[in-house]
């Protein structure tokens, strides 16, 4: 046990017996079971399952739920029909990102927001605070719901084997109810890997009664055995999301970086009448950005890591916020913030790794070839 105060999920026994457990955002979670690279490759080639119960789950209900969510988040909530979802951000008054998440519309007047693990308390307090002027209720149901991500090109066919409903009818960013292994599960076609796949919510399942969560987890593992499903840890979750170009809160985005600088303008609807951070973001847009989040693919040997400096023509132009070895590209990749004049695709930059300047190229996300990997692949 890592700490008396550490929290566990329903699957703790599985994780501790089968994997290397680490403390992450206050939870004892698996870093890997067999290894980051085989787990990463399983998701890209066939499928994997992740326990993501450490993330938060907050319900927003009431007559003004849509109005309120449109006010606290940056994307267009009015465009969300029931049983659909979108990626979004929540900003402070300065346009800085309080969190990034997927927002689900369960019903006309009922939304589900899934905050990052490290932001669970902060987000819930912010939502409660902001909701006072609205006819809505914010309820933290995190501890009553287990959540798994089932990701990879074989995810649909495998889940279908144990599903009561036709999962092919649930398109990307849609959601719905089904029974998996006889257990009621809310499923959404979303994820954090760049691959096709689903996220599963096992409701009414507190830690004290983990039975249904364990049942679903084991049923998915068994159903995926013939395609080589692997249970995957946080290590592969991080390398997968980085290859896909997705932000990690606390590394790539935080309250001092705006949604525009992070390259998330596609979820910032400045035409909305009113939302927290709008004025600051409008001002920043009209003045122009000074820095931008970019992808850097290393052209020489070396692995970029957070805080490494990015250089160009003998001048420091930014820094790395996430970096790793890409199992698909078999080279170093990074997310970095660089000054706008050097942020164009194709620009050659240098990353300072242990006092050496190592060449890299600014590339667009995702890092991999989308005809071969990811949900848009041509099978």
């Amino acid at each position: 046990m890592l700490s008396e105060l550490a929290r566990k999920t329903h699957l703790y026994e599985f994780h501790s017996q089968r994997g290397r457990v680490v403390l992450f955002a206050g939870f004892e979670m698996p870093m890997w079971y067999k290894g980051i690279i085989p787990e990463h490759m399983a998701v890209r080639n066939t499928m994997g399952i992740f326990d993501v119960t450490h993330m938060g789950r907050v319900l927003i209900t009431g007559p003004e739920a849509e109005f309120f969510m449109n006010y606290v988040t940056t994307n267009d909530v009015a465009a969300l029909v029931p049983l659909s979802a979108h990626y979004s951000t929540m900003c402070n008054e300065r346009g800085g990102i309080k969190d990034d998440f997927i927002l689900y519309r369960l019903e006309r007047e009922k939304f589900l927001i899934v905050p990052n693990a490290i932001n669970r308390t902060k987000d819930f307090e912010w939502l409660v605070d902001q909701s006072r002027a609205f006819n809505v209720k914010a309820e933290d149901v995190s501890d009553n719901v287990a959540m798994f991500a089932v990701q990879g090109p074989k995810a649909e066919q495998t889940l279908q084997k144990i599903s009561s409903e036709d999962l092919s009818k649930i398109e990307r960013f849609k959601c719905g109810w089904t029974k998996l292994a006889e257990v009621d599960v809310f499923v959404s076609r979303t994820g954090y890997t760049g691959e096709d796949g689903f996220e599963l919510f096992v409701w009414n399942t507190p830690l004290s009664r983990p039975g249904n969560a364990i049942k679903v987890w084991n049923a998915v593992l068994e159903a995926g055995q013939d395609v080589g499903i692997k249970p995957c840890g946080l290590g592969a979750r991080d390398t997968l999301r980085l290859e896909a170009g997705m932000c990690l809160y606390g590394n790539d985005i935080d309250e001092n970086i705006t949604s525009l600088e992070a390259g998330l303008s596609f979820v910032v609807k400045l035409k909305k009448e009113r939302f927290i951070g709008k004025d600051a973001l409008l001002k920043q847009k009209s003045e122009g950005l000074t820095r931008r989040r970019v992808g850097v693919r290393m052209l020489e040997k070396g692995i970029p890591r957070p805080q490494h400096e990015v250089w160009k023509n003998g001048e420091k132009i930014g820094h790395v916020t996430s970096g790793t070895f890409s199992p698909i590209l078999k080279r170093g990749i990074a997310m970095a913030y660089v000054s706008t004049e050097h942020a164009a695709e194709g620009e050659i930059v240098e990353v300072k790794i242990r006092d050496k300047l190592i060449k890299g190229e600014i590339v667009k996300f995702p890092f991999y070839d989308v005809t071969q990997y990811g949900f848009r692949r041509k099978t």
């Binding site: 980051i36 890591r305 790793t324 070895f325 242990r354």
Partner: protein, 137 residues
């Protein structure tokens, strides 16, 4: 060969607290990282070796080894000049995982202070005890 838990500890080598090993081969010393080190790092994806000809003092950094998640210094266990490095590690860093005491060797050194330096290192039983204590923590 000694073994403590899952970790192999060959009898004939010398060991540093930082988990490097030394094998004396005539007038040279061959160095690498131990089985314990490679298992702690797990999937090694990059090794940076020192330039040939570098002269380093015992326990100065001679390079780094990186796994997917972590970066670790490799400390030179005996003072001396680097006369050869394992070129295969550039393309196959996983040799450190597969064969840490053999094909995963890192560098060959011409020692300059071997007798004294060896006194600062551990033999196999001492290193086994060192690991046992680390594992208790």
């Amino acid at each position: 060969m000694m073994r403590i838990q899952d970790y192999e500890i060959p009898d004939e080598l010398y060991y540093s607290k930082e988990h490097e090993w030394v094998r004396i081969e005539g007038e040279y010393a061959v160095v690498g990282i131990t089985d314990y080190a490679q298992k702690a790092l797990h999937e090694i994806v990059y090794v940076e070796t020192p330039p040939i000809g570098s002269k380093l003092k015992q326990m100065e950094s001679m390079g780094v080894v990186e796994s997917v998640k972590a970066v670790s210094d490799i400390f030179i266990p005996v003072s001396g000049e680097i006369v050869e490095v394992n070129e295969n590690l550039a393309e196959s860093p996983e040799l450190l995982n597969k064969d840490p005491y053999g094909a995963g060797w890192i560098a060959k050194i011409r020692p300059t202070n071997l007798k004294t330096d060896l006194k600062n290192l551990m033999n196999a039983p001492q290193y086994a005890e060192h690991i046992r204590r680390l594992e208790e923590k």
